[in-house]
Amino acid sequence: MFTAETLQKFDREVAKYPADQKQSAVMACLALAQEEKGWLPAEAIEAVAHYLGMPPMAAMEVATFYNMYDLKPVGKYKLTVCTNLPCALSGGYHAAEYLKQKLGIEMGETTPDGRFTLREGECMGACGDAPVMLVNNRSMCSFMLPEQIDKLLEELK
């Protein structure tokens, strides 16, 4: 199910917790599984559960509880824009509108070419850098005014 590299990363996470508490690594392992697969199909969640010796249902509960897991396929680049109030005051809301217009999709949708998925996010703890967006859960982009958004979309081929 997973590459040797991913499994190695699983082990590194498991090692952070007491030997009888492997389940503690489930969040990290699900995130790594998602990184490898692009999203989290049920089989991947089950495989993670199996790896950690926990009931698949318990892993499924975790995968559905936390917002950053994708239980459905997403585009090559998932763009999450923070629109919470502190960001909105400095353009977060406008940045979201601008992206919708540019990509021709609504929040939660994926462009027909499968390149971009757009998400509305909650506070990312970066409100001083508003407008902010997160690319594929990993890379935070700050001060995303129109020019910067245009540039980013160009770069993400």
Partner: protein, 442 residues
């Protein structure tokens, strides 16, 4: 730049942005000296805790509970592991100081946690880091590797016989995990749903073991407090409000960012440090302590000083130190609508008053904002909040209610106008003009 402005900085003193986070830089600033001294001189645990008490350091995560007192709740003789856990799940809208702390001064957090572990006899620790700041999580892990290699954490630290294993745990998008018991559930690999208290974490915490949870800034303050002495730290601020504090200023100011200033600094001075109001517009309102704290009208805020007591006297809370500044272009109904959506979205759903109540709050504010408000909606909102408050497992219920109550209390006219005239008091072309987005577009 690590920090945009400061008066007598402690936590952020001597930093040079991304160039000075490493172990060698921290050591050059005098870092890890306190840990070394405590271990070398075998300073009694009680003495460390007494010094923290003397500083009157109050938890920087939002509730402001005295840290030294919290530490003294940990059972002394407990067979087996005890834990210290750092809360870097910074998700309270408006707060972005802990991100900068683990980015620019991660070793201060590590040293603070190691000293805390020593003082409470803990052997293992975790730092729970907010999901969206992956890059900072990697930064903190890199700092942990450095500290481990140098022998500041791990087994038999500096040959003292004291051992402390410390790891980072990465969150994945759930505001509620900032609540300390939800955070523990989350580390245990479960849904982040808060536990009933009591028992408190000091007796039944992570994996059922005694656990102390503190905010990132709280831990980061520890080495500096011990170095300068508790009383000197206290005297940087004012009585009962010790030390300096990081304030995350967002919204309609010219230079949003983190500012480290002594407790008790006038708000007007902080506003000045931020370059004043964007576009010279008029200050309308301030949420002084993160989105969960009651909003205050601008003129009330201008008379406050930045400390627990002054802000609480004015009717709000210092909370996490997240100062959200709003100018006259802000529609208060739309602002509250967005906050109410947030709490509705992030309620973990365990308690009926919170699950149903936050849904109602959002629905009603949403319809007022969209011109469908009814004459008795403001009374309805107020009764929903009283039905939530004090009837839930965790404080998210109160956190969702306080913005609603305070927005209506101070800006009732705007809500009434929306309901009666189905439009906003702030003209459409003025609304959000302060955001600065489109100005740059043209």
């Amino acid at each position: 730049m690590a920090i945009l402005g400061a008066i007598n900085p402690v936590l952020m003193a001597g930093l040079d942005g991304d160039n000075s986070w490493q172990l060698k830089d921290y050591v050059a600033r005098g870092g890890y000296e306190m840990l070394k001294k405590i271990l070398a001189e075998n300073i009694p645990q009680e003495q460390v805790i007494a010094e923290v008490k003397a500083s009157v350091l109050r938890g920087r995560g939002g509730a402001g509970f005295p840290t030294g007192l919290k530490w003294s709740f940990m059972p002394r003789s407990f067979p087996g592991d005890k834990y210290v856990v750092c809360n870097t799940d910074e998700g309270e809208p408006g707060t972005f100081k802990d991100r900068d702390l683990i980015r620019y001064n991660p070793h201060a957090v590590i040293e603070g946690m190691a000293i805390a572990a020593y003082a409470m006899g803990a052997t293992r620790g975790y730092n729970y880091i907010h999901g969206e700041v992956w890059e900072m999580y990697k930064r903190f892990e890199a700092a942990l590797d450095e500290a481990r290699a140098a022998g500041f954490i791990g087994q038999n630290i500096l040959g003292s016989g004291f051992s402390f294993e410390l790891f980072a745990h990465h969150g994945y998008g759930a505001y509620i995990c900032g609540e300390e018991t939800a955070l523990l559930e989350s580390i245990e690999g479960k849904k982040g749903q808060p536990r009933f208290k009591p028992p408190f974490p000091a007796s039944f915490g992570l994996y059922g073991k005694p656990t102390t949870i503190n905010n990132t800034e709280t831990f980061a303050s520890i080495p500096f407090i011990l170095k300068m002495g508790g009383e000197s730290f206290l005297n940087l601020g004012k009585p009962n409000n010790g030390g300096t504090k990081l304030f995350s200023v967002s919204g309609h100011v010219n230079r949003p960012g983190n500012y480290e200033i002594p407790m008790g600094t006038p708000f007007s001075e902080l506003l000045q440090m931020c370059g004043g109001m964007r576009g010279g517009r008029k200050l309308k309102a301030v949420i002084p302590g993160g989105s969960s704290s009651p909003v205050l009208p601008g003129d009330v805020m201008m008379d406050c000083t930045m400390d627990y007591d002054s802000i609480s006297k004015a009717g709000s809370m210092l909370g996490s130190g997240a100062v959200i500044v709003m100018d006259e272009s802000t529609c208060m109904v739309k602002s509250l609508e967005r906050l109410s959506f947030f709490y509705y979205e992030e309620s973990c759903g365990q308690c009926t008053p919170c699950r149903e109540g936050t849904n109602w709050l959002y629905k009603v504010v949403h319809r007022i904002e969209n011109g469908l408000g009814r004459p008795d909606d403001l009374d309805l909102l107020s009764s929903v909040t009283t039905n939530i408050m004090g009837r839930t497992i965790c404080a998210l219920g109160d956190a969702a209610s306080m913005p609603v109550q305070s927005f209506i209390k101070h800006f009732r006219d705007e809500f009434a106008h929306h309901i009666e005239h189905k439009t906003c008091l702030v003209p459409k072309d003025v609304q959000w003009a302060g955001s600065g987005f489109h100005k740059v577009a043209s």
